[in-house]
Structures are given as C-alpha cells and as structure tokens.
Amino acid sequence: MAGEFKEVEMQNNNDISIKTKKTREYQEISFIGKLVYGNTQEAKKQIQPQLEEAKGYIFDMNNIEYIDSTGLGLLMNLAKQLNMSKRKIALVIKDEFIKQIFYIAKFNLIVPIVSTRDEALAVLENNMQSSLSIEEY
C-alpha cells in the first residue's frame, strides 16, 4: 500500500514543488517543476524538515522540467548528507535530455540512475551500486 504524501509547495518565479512518500523502508523525494538558480535555497529549506529516517532514498526527477548547475549542486549536497549516515540513493529520470545532463556531470559515477521507480527499488533492495560510493570517491 502506498504511503502518505506530504507536499510542500513553494511559490517562486520558477516554481518547485516537493513531495515525499514512504514506500516500504525507503523514502521517495519527488521534485516537481524547475530546480534552478534562484529557488534552490528555498528548496533546501523545505526538504530538510521532510526528510525521514529510511533505509534508502529515491530522488524522483520525472516531473522536473528544468535543472541547471545550481540544481545539480543541491542534489549533490543532499546525496552527501544522506550518504553520511550510509544510506543508499537512486535517481529516477525518464526525460532523455535531463538524464544526459546528469551523465555529463558524472553523477552516474556515484549514484545509480534508472528510468523507473521499480528499477530504483530493485537497485536499493539489491544493494546495487554505481562504480564508487560517495565515500569512496
């Protein structure tokens, strides 16, 4: 049975909406809208109180219309924070262009990138890793 949604919305010039959901022992963090310069600080402030203790985390980017280097920086900071408590992370991205941006930025070296939520759960359940963990890098 799907967990409850918590939604935190911010009104910004470039709107970003963040929903979180608990599925089994994992927390899904869904980013909706644009994760760009000008809204990342607010996004960070809104994400922090929503984070729950979980075995692993899924960053769902399927509803992200646009991301820039500032947005990538926010995600990396979040990944590092979660990794400090040895939690696994998987990124879900369907849009080919946005996926390509993450590959260009080499995120795939330390965080598995998949196309669906089910694949993300499989990666986390099977403890599958990218080439290196954040710690190893």
Partner: protein, 152 residues
C-alpha cells in the same frame, strides 16, 4: 535567420523569460535539439547575474544584461553581455583544466563546465563590458552532447 537582441536588468525573475525566448527562437529556425544550447545560455546568464550582483551589490538591479541571438538552422551564435568584472585569464585557465570529476562532490563549479559540454565553442571578451560568446552548429547528431556519456 533570426536575430534578436534583448536587454534585461540583472534580476533573477528575468532568467526564466530569457530561457523561453532562447528556446522559441531556436525552434523558430528549426535548430536541431535546442535544449542543450538553451541550457548553456541559461548558465551564462546566471553567471552574468551573479557577476553583476557581486560587483554592484545593492545597485545590481540598475544594471543591464544583454542577450543577442543570431540563429539559423545550421548554426547559432549567442552573446551574453554584462557589466560585471568578467573572468580573469588565470580563472579561465583553471576552468579549462577542470573536469566534472574534479567538482563532482562540490555544490558549485559546474556551470562553466556544463556550458563547454553543450556548445562547440566559447569565447570571452573583457572591454567596458564582459562579453561571453557561445557558438553551436546545428548538428542533427548533436544529441550526443560532446563530453557526455550516452545515457544507458
């Protein structure tokens, strides 16, 4: 061929607007895969806004950033002009030697690298104003963004 010149004040709220103008312009001339070039422009505009804010502090909203787009289906050249201090040759050399792996765990430092990956050529001029020039050929296969790994 489309040639557009726009001036905005150096405020965050206009960045989204410039993104849309860039994309619509490139779509209008049937430039293949415009998203990559437009993201490069977006990164350049962010840098222009930041440079203006750093230099002029509370007066930044009185300063202008210009965007010039020269676009055909075969090629696009874009100039981003700001009144900031520009990039020194030392900084440029440092950036030219950086890779994404070097900044992978950092919260910042990817913007210029991303720009380099998304266009064919970047050049800078520092005179009275700072001019950043981006150039990209309308390569059908430009989907394989240079420097990037094919997804899956």
């Amino acid at each position: 061929m489309v040639e557009i010149t726009m001036c905005i004040t150096a405020e965050n709220k206009y960045i989204d607007f410039l993104d849309e103008i860039c994309e619509k312009t490139l779509i209008q001339v049937d430039f293949p895969n415009p998203r990559g070039v437009c993201l490069a422009v977006h990164e350049g505009v962010i840098n222009a806004v930041e440079a203006t804010k750093q230099k002029y502090k509370s007066e930044y909203k009185n300063k202008c950033i210009s965007l010039k787009i020269y676009a055909t289906r075969e090629a696009v050249e874009i100039h981003i002009i700001d009144e900031g201090d520009g990039i020194s040759n030392e900084e440029l050399e440092k950036i030219n030697n950086l890779t994404f792996e070097d900044v992978l765990l950092d919260s910042k430092g990817r913007g210029l690298l991303l720009m380099k990956s998304l266009v064919d050529k970047i050049s800078h001029e520092n005179y009275e104003k700072h001019v950043l020039k981006l150039y990209k050929k309308g390569d059908i296969d430009g989907w394989r963004i240079q420097g990037g790994r094919n997804a899956e």
